[in-house]
């Protein structure tokens, strides 16, 4: 029954926490991944399924799965995988949002992994179900299963054309053995995967019915808001609680580990209370943090070599007459996620444990983090032992997932969850804790800002022999991520890292290091091309001989964007290439420069090889959105620091691209038959270099610092 990582069980009843359904239940053991904190939770108990497919007698098919829906479309795309092999119509399959119960398996939703993780297993689950339903019908009709087939949720006997609905077969199907081998359809037989399917979550979302974390309402619930110490790592010194309590509707004021909380009947009242508190703070460890001096320090540190984190090939020396060298330095700012829905969480700590409603990308992590506050020390130890014994981690702390108003990596953190838990624990009532936009902006987990020194040695023809990239930033991992990932053949490549501790909280930001290092790599390769005045597209192609897939994507984008063809007067193009999450993306940005040197971005053409496409419209939408996200960061916003705190606070000083500013976006698929690649992040990194390279083509001015200004560039 065990095929690699894939295992199936079947039963007639599913009971997990608050869920209980009768029908044919197929339990699938989804392999955990490297990000999963729950690997041991799964493997320690041998076969314990963590994805559940339920076929009920009314023909309804439900998929209980732990992924969060944050706009990337899992609620639509994952059922497509099941429906394809189960041979039911997509409308019959619904994803039910699982709770954080560890029996639902790895729920970490990040790194563009949802489709990649589920591509094989969900199809196999559907196929196993179909085979068992066919076996059941064959048994009823006393015929061989080979003489039957399934379509649209019905098993048909080929000769007699007798038909039985899946719902009618459920009771007998659960007695069938789980098939040993589960063949999957060849792609040419797909009738759902790769075909049009509208997103299932849109009606609820546009009508305001969808429940985001912010929208949770519980009986007896109070609403809280928080002020965090303006300087990272600071502490509360004093405040005047009486002033807040004099606001009508304000009920409590309290200090928790991360700040001061005001609890009231409504958010507005809580906010008014908070404003009146006159909080005094002790500064944190880095009260001097200031963007200008931090980057000066970066530059100073870059004088000395960093620690080598990647080295490949043999270095060539610079020789007069035969080689040339080129140096450049690039500076990238800190960035905030700025999800449309600010951080918030509703928690109710009660006698039996705790219920949490949170827009989170990492429910199991949230559950585990909450345990520290729900339980005292002794009880937590007992709970841990119990968990180890049963394989069910903290079963009495239940994270209910809501819709997420964007994720971008910010909701992999649990800071907002444990705050709500602490307040509810103190007051014993349900608490919805809401961060204001200002708190959300100034207490993020930021994309690191970095300084990058590049040095290349070129041969006589201007092709790179050596490529040395030194990165200075507040951390190593996220700052150097992707820097080693150059698609071009270069005989010697080295990446060095230097770390300057800043106390600034750092986190994963849509595409992680990709958004930093792709700007550097794709700008610098353009600079190298310019040394001998070679067309940047053709120059890249020269270095991609060993990378046919990259070559195809680059060629596709050039063709779609009419690279090298006559453009409208004053229009110029720039190109960039990127690979991550098993997808390859290339973009061409088309801009124009007005007489006064003002830049307008007209269009971005994006080609992608992301293997098999499950749902083209969702992929397109993710790429369009990724491009606008990358564009906002390239030309509009940054996070800066002054006297230890974040300067920006809302959409006025951290502006994002708006409707009139959004360029036209065209997406081209390079179709390749292989497992799907990730698409949530890959469109973000190439935007900035494509635009910067277009500006260079237009003006001869090289942009080496982001965000770039689009005003008076010449």
């Amino acid at each position: 029954m065990v095929k690699g990582n894939f295992k199936v069980s079947r039963r007639g009843f599913l009971k997990l926490g608050s869920v209980s359904v009768a029908g044919m239940v197929i339990g699938i053991c989804l392999p955990s991944n490297t990000y999963s904190k729950s690997r041991s939770e799964i493997s320690a108990f041998g076969f314990s399924p963590n994805v559940w497919l339920v076929i009920e007698e009314n023909d309804q098919v439900s998929l209980f799965l732990g992924k969060s829906e944050m706009g990337q479309g899992v609620i639509t795309a994952l059922p497509m995988l099941v429906a394809e092999e189960l041979e039911v119509d997509l409308a019959r399959v619904r994803v039910k949002m699982a709770t954080s119960d560890s029996r639902y398996g790895n729920q970490y939703t990040g790194g563009s992994r949802s489709i990649r993780e589920n591509w094989l297993v969900l199809r196999k689950a559907g196929a196993a179900g179909r085979l068992m339903l066919i076996a059941a019908a064959a048994e009823i009709w006393s015929v061989s299963p080979d003489t039957c087939y399934a379509e649209h949720g019905v098993v048909v006997h080929r000769q007699s054309q007798q038909r039985l609905r899946y719902g009618e077969l459920v009771a007998i199907a659960i007695k069938q053995p789980v098939p040993d081998t589960i063949p999957l359809k060849p792609p040419e037989d797909f009738r759902i995967i790769g075909k049009h399917a509208a997103r299932l979550d849109i009606p609820d979302k546009v009508s305001g019915r969808a429940k985001f974390g912010m929208d949770i309402i519980l009986p007896g619930m109070l609403i809280a808001t928080i002020a965090h110490p303006p300087i990272f790592g600071g502490k509360v010194k004093s405040y005047d609680a009486k002033r807040a309590l004099s606001v009508k509707g304000v009920r409590h004021v309290m200090t928790i580990a991360s700040g001061v909380v005001v609890v009231a009947d409504g958010y507005w009242q809580a906010r008014q209370g908070l404003k009146r508190l006159q909080i005094q703070w002790y500064p944190g460890e880095y009260p001097e943090t200031n963007t200008a001096s931090m980057f000066n320090k970066y530059v100073e540190l870059a004088e000395n070599p960093g620690e080598v984190v990647h080295e490949k090939g043999t270095q060539s020396a610079v020789e007069a007459g035969t080689t040339n060298e080129i140096k450049a330095a690039y500076q990238l700012p800190y960035q905030n996620h700025t999800t449309m829905e600010t951080m918030n969480c509703t928690a109710h700590v009660h006698d039996n444990g705790c219920d949490i409603w949170a827009p989170t990308q990492h429910p199991e992590g949230a559950r585990n983090a909450a345990a520290d506050y729900v339980y005292g020390k002794i009880q937590k130890t007992l709970e841990k032992v119990y968990s180890r014994f049963t394989g069910n981690i903290y079963p009495n702390i239940v994270v209910h997932k809501t819709y997420l108003g964007c994720g971008f990596g910010r909701r992999l953190e649990h800071d907002f969850v444990i705050e709500a838990v602490q307040v509810s624990k103190k007051l014993g009532v349900p608490i919805k804790l809401i961060w204001s936009r200002e708190e959300d902006m100034q207490h993020g987990h930021y994309r690191p800002g970095t300084y990058n020194k590049l040095h290349a040695v070129l041969d006589k023809k201007g092709l790179p022999l050596n490529w040395v990239h030194q990165i200075v930033g507040p951390v190593r991992g996220l700052a150097v991520d992707g820097a080693a990932n150059i698609p071009y053949s270069i005989p010697y490549h080295r990446v060095e890292s230097t770390v300057l501790k800043t106390g600034i909280p750092i986190g994963s930001w849509r595409s992680t290091g990709g958004s930093l290092n792709t700007f550097v790599i794709e700008s610098f390769i353009d600079e190298i091309a310019a040394v001998k005045n070679v067309d940047p597209y053709h120059f890249r192609k020269k270095l991609l001989n060993s990378k046919p897939r990259h070559m195809n994507v680059l060629t596709a984008v050039a063709k779609a964007a009419r690279w090298g063809k006559v453009l409208p007067e004053n229009n110029f193009q720039g190109i960039a290439l990127y690979e991550a999450r098993n997808s390859i993306v290339a973009q061409v940005a088309e801009i124009s420069v007005s007489g006064k040197g003002k830049i307008k971005i007209h269009k971005v053409v994006c080609a992608i090889d992301c293997g098999t496409v499950v749902n083209h419209e969702i992929v397109k939408s993710q790429l369009e959105g990724g491009i606008i996200f990358g564009l906002s960061a390239a030309v509009k916003h940054e996070i800066t620091f002054k006297s230890g705190h974040v300067v920006e606070s809302n959409f006025d000083d951290f502006p994002i691209v708006s409707m009139p500013e959004a360029p036209k976006i065209e997406v081209v698929f390079v179709s390749v038959e292989r497992a799907p690649g990730g698409v949530g992040e890959v469109a973000v990194p190439p935007v900035a270099p494509a635009i910067a390279n277009a500006i260079f083509a237009a003006t001869g001015k090289r942009i080496r610092k982001l965000p770039m200004s689009l005003q008076a560039i010449v």
């Binding site: 706009g71 546009v206 305001g208 958010y267 936009r437 397109k620 959105g625 708006s658 409707m659």
Partner: protein
């Protein structure tokens, strides 16, 4: 007595008149379709209609809108809502969806005023409705399509 009228219902509650409409809707009335995202009139997530004009409810104290006709996303007639759901679904004009009720309200105000909006009309009317998911191209398409289908003369329930 001065009255607050939301979706044709009169609200009798003892509420501080300085409270912004957004929080009265969300916290007092439990109507969570109207969203908070900036609290300063910068993003449009909290857009509702007052006498068919879009306003940002996060910066509108209720004392300023007494005796006015307030329409929220929840107050749209069922058939209009269905049309909107269909158009938005066909154009795939939502990702996370958090900004969408606000986008819809601004779009309705636009179409009421200009039943055949141009690109420039859309840019002007929608520039204050931010979408962090960045799917403006789809929202634009949805607005054109909704305008083409047309909306009823009276977009208020009852």
């Amino acid at each position: 007595m001065d009255k607050l009228t939301v979706n044709n219902k009169i609200i009798n509650m003892d509420i501080d008149p300085d409270t912004p409409l957004l929080w009265v809707l969300r916290d007092n009335l439990g109507m969570t379709g109207t969203k908070y995202a900036c609290g300063k009139g910068l993003c449009g997530a909290c857009t509702v209609l007052i006498d068919n004009k879009p306003i940002r409810s996060c910066i509108t104290p209720i004392k300023n809108i007494i005796n006015k006709r307030i329409t929220t996303i929840e107050g749209l007639p069922e058939n209009l809502l269905q049309t909107i759901e269909q158009v938005w679904t066909e154009t795939g004009a939502s990702e996370c969806g958090y900004c969408q009720p606000g986008q819809v309200m601004s779009a309705l105000a636009l179409i009421i005023e200009k039943p055949r909006p141009t690109d420039v009309d859309i840019d002007t009317a929608m520039s204050g409705n931010l979408c962090r998911c960045g799917i403006y191209q789809r929202i634009r398409k949805a607005i054109y399509q909704l305008a083409a289908v047309g909306i009823p003369e009276n977009i208020h329930n009852g």
